[in-house]
């Protein structure tokens, strides 16, 4: 079946299901959803994989309940719509609070990630030659393990809904990581890594991968830091300042600002798997989430990031807005149905409109509330060096090793790859096995320094898990260097 015919079939089915009484119908037609993964491990090509998917996902809202169905068989479009409608009708038999998409206007538009060189168009041998060069750059006698990982993704999506919206998206992302490992003086494996990041501008394709600043030129630094790490003492338990470089700061933001501000979590729709949130509907406009230095945005009008996609899977244009304004919680990551439910439940307008955060990872998953780009805005506390200079007793930490978060995101524990001790305004030595833990509101209340624009980069997340059926999503986090005081670090003896 041709692309045109598929789209006609979709339109006909949307009309039919709507005329039968559906509250709302939409369909996402993935013409192409491709992913390529290459992994060099100790120089051996351990992954040389491409995945190609295409299909249609159909969502029907019937008397306040969602039904969903997906098919990868173009000849099964009618059946897929019928199944989604039947699922919605069945679901509507148990509805206490009917879901509603509200009144939406037809949205017509398109979006394309800013790709100059499509990684899928680059010859595999050229890609492998590039990876091999990176791998060679990582070689040293003391290094036991080396890893070079890249992943390319592209999605060509056509969206239609019963409000007359028609949106076309061409999304592309690239991800890359280099890592080296070596044994420390106690025989424990230590690692140091670096992942491709974005400045928020530029192109999202192959050129990012080969840019020395964004990815390709970090081997020497990573190796020298590992060399220091394996000779380092372990971090001792104690309270001290913690300075998070973006490699760690983005995950802190992700886990303790992003996830707790997903409105479906706040409303209790994720309890059986991901968990809830310490935030409730009364928190908005009142809750002091952090110090005055904390301002956090969603999307942030970042041109080049996995969290920039033009229109969400409700058909809502992606919006740039504040989640936290100078320490006060003001908004959430929202989709249309969740906004309507929240406002209805609160009996007032908590949220003026959808934040454009309904996202599905593939055609065979239904959209849920996700992060887009969740960003800490740059501050006025200068460069990383200036923040260190203002620190009496602390550590600078980078890149996660482990992360474990309370079910309502009220507390957390992180392990990092590396710490640099800071005494009286100077980095004094490297420390290994750094961990820190805290309680979310107390922690952000202790935010004492936010780096300026020179410290701000967009870290890319390729593996955010949420939802049932489970979905892995790609997200961006623009973060500067950030400092927190009086944090519990290390482990008690």
């Amino acid at each position: 079946m041709t692309e045109v015919n598929v789209k006609k079939e979709i339109a006909n089915n949307i009309s039919r299901i709507t005329s039968e009484g559906a509250d709302y119908v939409d369909a996402r037609y993935y013409l192409d959803d491709s992913s390529e993964t290459l992994l060099l491990y100790d120089g051996d090509l351990e992954a040389n994989d491409t995945t190609v998917e295409s299909g249609i996902g159909v969502r029907v809202l019937w008397e306040g309940a969602w039904g969903f169905s997906a098919t990868s068989d173009p000849s099964g479009i009618d059946a897929c719509f019928r199944k989604a409608a039947a699922n919605a009708r069945t679901a509507s038999r148990l509805v206490k609070v009917p879901l509603s998409m509200g009144v939406g206007e037809a949205v017509k538009g398109s979006y394309a990630s800013p790709v100059e060189v499509d990684p899928f168009s680059v010859n595999l041998q050229d890609k492998l030659a590039f990876l091999t060069r990176l791998d060679n750059d990582l070689k040293e006698d003391f290094i036991i393990k080396r890893m070079v990982f890249v992943n390319f993704q592209k999605k060509k999506i056509h969206f239609q809904n019963s409000e007359g919206s028609e949106i076309n998206k061409d999304l592309a992302s690239v991800f890359g990581t280099i890592m080296v490992m070596a044994l420390d003086s106690d025989g424990e494996m230590q690692r140091r890594s670096m992942s491709l990041y974005s400045t928020g501008d530029g192109t999202a394709g192959w050129k990012m991968m080969t840019d020395p600043e964004l990815f390709a030129g970090h081997a020497v630094r990573v190796k020298s830091e590992l060399a220091e790490l394996i000779k380092a003492e372990p971090l001792e338990y104690g309270r001290r300042s913690v300075i998070l470089l973006p490699g760690q700061g983005h995950l802190q933001v992700h886990e303790t600002i992003g996830h707790p501000l997903e409105l479906d979590r706040i409303l209790g729709y994720e309890l059986s798997y991901a968990g809830g949130s310490f935030v409730d509907l009364d928190s908005f406009g009142k809750l002091r989430y952090g110090s005055d230095k904390l301002s956090v945005s969603s999307y942030g009008s970042i041109a080049n990031s996995p969290g920039s996609f033009g229109f969400d899977d409700d058909g809502t244009p992606e919006r740039d807005y504040l989640l936290i304004d100078r320490g006060i919680l003001v908004n959430a990551l929202t989709s249309r149905a969740m906004v309507n439910e929240a406002n209805g439940r609160a009996g007032r307008e908590v949220f003026a409109q959808s934040g454009g955060a309904a996202r599905a990872t593939s055609f065979y998953r239904a959209p849920i509330d996700r992060m887009t780009n969740v960003n800490i805005l740059p501050g006025n506390d200068g460069s990383e060096e200036q923040i260190i200079a203002s620190t009496e007793d602390g550590i600078v930490v980078d890149n996660p090793v482990s992360w474990s978060i309370g079910s309502n995101r009220e507390h957390f524990h992180f392990g990092c790859e590396i710490a640099w001790e800071v005494k009286n305004g100077e980095k004094t030595r490297v420390l290994r096995n750094p961990t820190y833990q805290g309680h979310t509101l107390e922690f952000y209340g202790s935010l004492s320094a936010v780096g300026d624009k020179s410290t701000w980069i967009v870290e890319q997340v390729n593996n955010c898990g949420k939802g049932e059926p489970n979905q892995v999503m790609q997200i961006g986090h623009g973060v500067p260097v950030i400092k927190f005081d009086d944090v519990i670090t290390g482990e008690r003896k």
Binding site: N87, L99, N123, L128
Partner: protein
């Protein structure tokens, strides 16, 4: 059974590839999945997917490439195209420094002993009525959420090494419900698992939650200050700890590459407490039983830890090739990890009646590994966690963090339940791949480190 036309197409392409001297593995994965989500006492999503995936891997000497296709398979040309794409990737690949071990279906096998037509074709309306029943009987004043995933999975494996066929068909389900107090915010949960529709009953959930509700309604939360405690770990927590210990400690790759908490030990040495025995047993019916792995090797009972001693390490095909070992049938997403039961009474409260103050932590939320080398894990209590004194439940406990080592927690075990329980560890991030562990219904450990606690549930 497997669609006859698809089987014919795949065998034809296999034969063509074999005749052309191509070394290839063809793996078909078909899932027919259904999932119902509950949120705020309503069905929040009712979803069905019918998906067919074909994985092709081609080996040319030391070079390998693979292609995965998700879509319809109606003709030979589609499959030939996927094979050619994988072959092209293999041709252009850089060679490995070792010889890959070629996949081979050792013997033809067709298994469906855990297939239930009633579960494969379950009526979503039945799930609606079950949730309605539970909500109405336990009380609509609470906030209920949950999910219920069920489905059919078929795997069909061919290699160009021979014409043997490996086929697996099975059904599985995992049911969960969370009961949350809208003001006090404590959360209770109950899960059910199995491969038959009849493995689920409404009454099991009602009975379990009914006993816990008064404890949480009538008592304030207990804040466990950081320190060492005697802890009863319930089945989900035991499965999490054992599963993570196996993943980080008993995989050949981690051990060979000195990234494991077992690296300093040799086979036969003591790595855990005397009471701990763990085996990968693909014939244990409390797990989802897979008789072959995705390289075509038969899976047999495989001792991992016996009375605390390291017995074997699990080698996947690539690791075995790289380190000169034999693959052990562990190229699988569905291992059958079984921890041996002990001699403790069925009731965990009876087991700790002389132990004074004890924390009962049935499940650990969001477990992770700050140090693989030291085997240190961290995670926090969540559902159904209570304080027990002299064998009696006295109050719920606030969210508490356990940060400790496998060596300590599994080395200081006082009591292990004599009753085993199946714990479903599946996720649905990629394709349907059911995983369940069989573990004792509780384990009591002394000196467990609580490193943080919240003032809330």
């Amino acid at each position: 059974m497997l669609d006859a036309n698809i089987r014919k197409i795949l065998m034809q392409v296999r034969d063509e590839a074999a005749e052309s001297g191509i070394q290839a593995t063809l793996q078909l994965h078909h899932e027919k999945s259904h999932l119902m989500r509950i949120g705020n006492n309503s069905v929040s999503l009712n979803t069905s997917e019918d998906l067919l995936r074909l994985d092709m891997e081609v080996t040319e000497g030391r070079k390998q490439g693979s292609q995965t296709y998700l879509g319809a398979i109606n003709d030979v040309d589609t499959v030939r195209g996927i094979l050619n794409a994988a072959r092209e990737k293999a041709r252009m690949a850089s060679p490995k420094t070792y010889d890959p071990i070629l996949d081979e279906v050792e013997t033809s096998i067709s298994e469906d002993s855990q297939f239930d037509l009633d579960l494969a074709d379950i009526d979503p309306g039945m799930k609606v009525e079950a949730y309605r029943n539970i909500i109405e009987r336990l009380g609509g004043q609470y906030n209920f959420s949950g999910s219920w995933s069920s489905g059919l999975m078929q795997v069909y494996l061919l290699t160009t090494a021979n014409r043997n066929e490996a086929y697996h068909r099975g059904t599985d389900q995992i049911f969960s419900i969370v009961l949350k107090h809208p003001q006090a915010k404590w959360e209770l949960t109950h899960n059910q698992t199995g491969w038959r529709a009849s493995d689920f009953t409404v009454d099991k959930t009602i009975d379990t939650l009914s006993k816990l509700i008064p404890v949480f309604e009538d008592n304030d939360g207990f804040k466990a200050e950081p320190g060492e405690y005697t802890v009863i770990f319930g089945p989900s927590a035991v499965a999490e700890i054992i599963g993570m210990a196996v993943y980080t400690g008993l995989a050949g790759r981690s051990w060979e590459e000195k990234q494991s908490w077992t690296t300093k030990y040799k086979i036969g040495e003591k790595i855990l407490g005397d009471k701990i025995s763990v085996v990968d047993d693909p014939k244990n019916p409390q797990t989802f039983m897979f008789g072959f792995d995705m390289c075509g090797r038969r899976r047999n009972i495989f001792p991992l830890v016996e009375d605390g001693e390291l017995m074997n390490l699990m080698y996947d095909s690539a690791t075995a090739a790289k380190y000169g070992k034999k693959p052990t049938g562990h190229d699988t997403g569905s291992p059958s990890i079984v921890m041996d039961t002990g001699f403790g009474p069925a009731d965990p409260l009876e087991a700790v009646k002389d132990m004074g103050r004890v924390l009962y932590i049935p499940a650990l939320h969001y477990m992770n590994i700050p140090s693989r080398s030291k085997g240190i894990f961290t995670g926090s209590s969540r559902f159904n966690a209570v304080l027990v004194e002299d064998g009696k439940i006295v109050s719920p406990i606030f969210s508490s963090r356990v940060t400790d080592s496998f060596g300590n927690v599994l080395g200081n075990v006082k009591v292990i339940s004599s009753v085993s329980e199946s714990v479903n560890e599946s996720n649905t991030y990629g394709r349907r791949a059911p995983v369940a562990m069989s573990v004792p219904s509780y384990v009591v450990s002394e000196g467990v480190k609580i490193t943080d606690s919240a003032d809330s549930f």
